[in-house]
Symmetry: C2
Subunit: 111 residues, 2 copies
């Protein structure tokens, strides 16, 4: 299940891509339009957009002869739920151990 998560995190692990996402979150724009608002080339933006699209964070929309992109919240919420579940699981085990530790003394965890 974490298999599809890694590409999403990889997509989110770049500042330029966050800048793109922030722009697209406010309003859909084309690669060229984004290039004028960000300090990188249009081609760089294009690459980022394919990464974001592959991760399902963004969606292309043809408007005349240009291709605008729109930010998709769905994949983000989905990822958020997955993270929440995993985090809760970790803490569940932690508190379980704490409970055992407070009933037993001198716990020597297996190596």
């Amino acid at each position: 299940m974490t298999a599809t998560l890694v590409p999403v995190f990889a997509a989110l692990a770049d500042d330029t891509r966050w800048a793109v996402l922030q722009e697209l979150g406010r309003q859909e724009r084309s690669a060229s339009a984004l290039a004028t608002r960000l300090p990188v080339t249009r081609q760089a933006i294009a690459k980022h957009l394919t990464v974001l699209a592959d991760a399902g964070l963004v969606e292309p929309v043809r408007v005349g002869r240009e291709i605008r992109y729109r930010a998709l919240g769905a994949r983000l919420s989905e990822t958020a739920r997955a993270l929440e579940a995993i985090g809760a699981e970790w803490d569940r085990r932690l508190s379980a151990i704490a409970r055992i530790a407070e009933s037993l003394q001198d716990v020597t965890p297996p190596r």
Copy 2:
């Protein structure tokens, strides 16, 4: 606010690190112990652990002469909430646009 997020995503954007996290989620272990269970060197694990620790996803615990690491769910939940908020924001704007579009006709969004 997304400033502190990027390192977390960078930390989560690697398969080996997820393998480490999965192990630590089940039980706290030292770098050497992890190295025996994963197909990488102890030194590689150590590097991953510093990355994870810097991201706040993991915490060192001294036990005798070894240093075990424990997975922290808190940072994960925190990140999940941030993502959820951002995703909701995007969709909010999307539905707002949809509402406008269905009342007006021939909407030409500003370039």
